[in-house]
Amino acid sequence: MSESDAVLIKPKDYKTSVKPIWCPGCGDFAVLSAITKALAWMKLAKEEVALISGIGCSSRLPAYVDSYGFHGIHGRVLPLAAGLKVVRPELTVIAAGGDGDGYSIGGNHFMHACRRNIDMTYIVMDNRVYGMTKGQASPTTAADWDKSKLTPHGTGVPPFQPLSIALAAGAGFIARGFSGDPNQMSKLIVEAIEYPGFALIEVLSPCPTFRPEQKEWKHQVRQAEDIPLHDPVQAAEWLAADDGMSSGLIYHRAHPVWQALHEVGSTLADIEQEFRI
């Protein structure tokens, strides 16, 4: 247990003095609070936590948390986090970002992270829009949302189902949180951090600026009761029937965690032997 962990840390101690760039009412404020609450709850030393992100409004989050952080490039949050976790398995690694970052440009890493099952938590602040670039459709945007000039008649493409994809890709921890329920979210974050393996928390995090209608989410989102499920087929069925507004830990199942294998004992000199004539 490290030096700076000696005194009890409160959630606000995990916040930096950097002022968020977020618009008033942005759902991401609640995610920030939920994270700091979870860290305080778990009494994690600040220096043992690393928050990794991509690019987007949501991806600005690491700068606001007083832990180690990396604000990387668009779509590459998961490889960045994976590299760190593999070499520093003792750290608590939390990846975070938006729906565009994670499901559009970052979709491939998302699938492969689910399979690879490196021990980390991935929080996606899904506002069904590209906030940072001023309001284009994201993969989770409804096909007929026509408010973006880039897709004036809507995308015409059915929305991406992140939880179903995560399940099919082999993720063992799948949860949905909501910015309007930060306590539940904190709890989910704690469970995700404690889960050995890749844990996905998809957060419904409204963008009042470009999706003002998402203010309605607070009337629509409900905690689901019949979960978590542990069987993937049942979970698939459940997800297919769900309207996307049920929150909670949906699926939980143990999977072997990705592990680096070492056969220690050799030195570089031993390796060089092989070149000798």
């Binding site: 952080g69 994976a82 070499v87 491939n108 030195t267």
Partner: protein, 577 residues
Amino acid sequence: MTQHNNISIAITGSGGSGAVTAGLILLEAMAQAGFYGLMQRSAGPQIRGGESAVMLRFADHELCGPADVFDLWLALDWLKVRRFVDEIPLHGGSQIISDPMIGEPPAEVTGQQAAFIDLSLKQTAATVEGGRVNMVGIGVLAAMLGLSVATMHKAIQKTLSDKGKAVISASLAAIEAGMRLVPSGSVPLTANWQVATGERWNISGNEACGLGALRGGVRFVAAYPITPASDMLEWLAPNLEKIGGTLLQAEDELASINMIVGASFGGVASLTATSGPGLSLMLEGIGLAVASETPITVVNVMRGGPSTGIPTKSEQADLNQALYGPHGDAPHLVLAPLGISDAVFTTQWAVCLAERLQTATIVLSDQSIGQARAIVSPVPETDMLCTRQTAQDIDGEYRRYTLTPDGISPMAIPGTPYGMYTADGLEHNEKGTPSSMAADHNVQLTKRSDKLLQTDYGEHWAEIAADDEAVADYLLLTWGSVSGVVSEGAGRLRDQGYSVTVVAVRLLMPLPLQQMKNALSGAKKILVVEHNYSAQFYHYLMSLGAIPQDASSLARPGPLPLRPGEIVTTMTGEQHE
């Protein structure tokens, strides 16, 4: 036979003929016998069952490039040999060893002046249970080279160790049968060669890069396979494991580059290896490493370009991309090994510089280094200043990007108390907080640039071989893999009475301009030599004002290697024009 006790031998054959195995055995045998050697490969597009060729060169001294012409050619068959004919230049004294039973050689071969040595390789192979023509063939070569049965035995044992006893003894029997095809009184071709007494290594260029990486402290590698870099990654995987490191196979190059950035942020020296198409995909991540000042090393084993190009052949055509690929002003380092042995040193140095300067380093190897295998003197470990400056015992406010006299800011590694910060590819102030203020942009741009420009890179930036003359007639300026060929060309020019300086540049960016000027000063005629179409190095030197405007350029693309003779004719030919 060319001078200076060396000999060049080609072995060609179609699918399954075992040309490559033959080459590996002969290389090992010559090593056992106390000689040096170099083996390059050439393969057709087929994955297996395709034609292939090995180009061997042996000498009683270290070699670092192909000769002009081949002295011996062992043709296991003539199928598809057209694919290789332009890679196997012959001379009047060349000898082609083949079996008339394999049919007529094509006109491209018979049209040359070489003599044919017809031997009944097939029939001889048939006399041995499990005997194969390639083994009989190397038996012939072994005898011509004066190798003993005992030497061949050792070489076979080592090379075929995982093939089982039956194969080994059949091979040996076939080799011996082949040796008997050579008249016993013949003078071995290595008759007056000196035998080395010291230790030597049998190592490929890709392995050499891998070893250099490990020496530099690399303990994490993320990998996505690509020819001709894959076998470096495949060498690293088991060897990293042995010393507590990790290799992770990524889903693509976008992942692998970002994985190493993440791992390096975690405090572990990290590397990836790729080739042109992969480097293209890594540029955004390299820019992130530069902007966030996270040390990483990327080894790019160049192949023929552009686009998918010619994946199995060598070219030095990714220089421009390595220098200028990332968007924005993204100062970083570019180095190039000057040959197989040097790949150990250069890769280690690249990793060290990345760590020390907290930036991205690109190492430009190529197929002619990476996939070649050489018998060389062991490469001693070099002491280098490899340490990353870290922030420890932090007291007061930590500023990740704090301005320091040398531009290097101590880096807090996750886990360090009171060092918490967020690394960022957005422009930032000294604390790391995003900033779009002109003042912050300016100082951080300057910091990232100056920390590279103000470093004293010492003597290793180039290998300079000068004659005693105060002023050289000729100055040959080159970089990377072709340095060996250029040196050999220089030797010939010296034989012709010219005084010649060779400057082979290892540190391409930032180029130590003052040292370059010193090296070039007074040279009467400068030729810049490189292996690409558009004279990328020449133009780069021009862009820095590093060479006089009357310097000449010898730039030729792959897939054929540059040869020492080309250097000589370009230099002297031009003069007489």
